[in-house]
Symmetry: C2
Subunit: 127 residues, 2 copies
DNA sequence: CTTGACCCTCACATCAATGTGACGGTTGGA
DNA sequence: TCCAACCGTCACATTGATGTGAGGGTCAAG
């Protein structure tokens, strides 16, 4: 599919899909006329990128991390230098930290919401 | 304590602590001479802010979310308009999304690391 | 009183992620 | 043929989180 369809299906602006290519995170094929041609997989991949960016992960890291998130067999072990491995481990740990922080905060927010809800609508009210 | 100590104890640059104040996320007292005076609580609070920023949450949102993360009793329900409540719920949901994305990715990375490790350092288990 | 280690504000610089738009090519249908 | 709806690159603008440094107060110890 072309960039417009992918954009529509993912909700990610064209500009950003081009940016993803520029940073090496998501590189599409090219039609003879020069148009970007994305395969079906790109939908998931783009959304994954979107999610990681939203979670504060820089493109530089996403690029390094993405190859591990492929489904079909792990054939790309070859390219794993010890250095890359170290980076990945560090990244895994910092992701765990983020997850913890986010989880703690989210739970606190949830409790807060519940409390307010309970304090506000203990009685049956009429809309 | 003053900004230097807080900076040292949290690892957060002075510049950023001032920025936190500027954005309304962490507002210290002031000594008569104009110096910022932080209380003990500020340590946790600053780290919390740091964590949420790292997790991609913008200051604008952190500012709105922080009041819910206080420990001592929930006396600040009063200021909770239905609008704020809506924002909080939305934020809670988007945090859950981020947590999911991060967790999925982290687990994938972990599996990848394990696989590479195993392929690289054959263990005396079952050859 | 001087010095050194703090602190202040202000303002500009940087960097990554985005927005926006100019200018032009491709293609399919009225 | 011509237009509309796509697509391309290029390049500048913006925004949020930071770095950096200039110019100047505060204060305790020597």
């Amino acid at each position: 599919m072309r960039i417009g369809s992918l954009s529509e299906r993912t909700g990610i602006p064209r500009r950003m899909l081009r940016y993803y290519e520029e940073t090496g995170m998501l590189i599409p094929d090219r039609s003879p006329n020069g148009y970007r041609e994305y395969d079906e997989q790109s939908v998931d991949r783009a959304l994954q990128i979107r999610g990681l960016l939203d979670a504060g992960m820089p493109t530089r890291v996403i690029k390094q991390v993405l190859p591990c998130l492929k489904q079909p067999g792990i054939i790309h072990i070859l390219g794993a230098t010890p250095e890359t491995l170290g980076i990945l481990e560090h990244e895994r740990d910092s992701m765990s930290d983020r997850i913890e922080t986010l989880t703690r905060s989210r739970d606190a927010i949830s409790r807060y919401i519940d409390t307010v809800r309970r304090a506000r609508a203990p009685e049956p009210q009429e809309a």
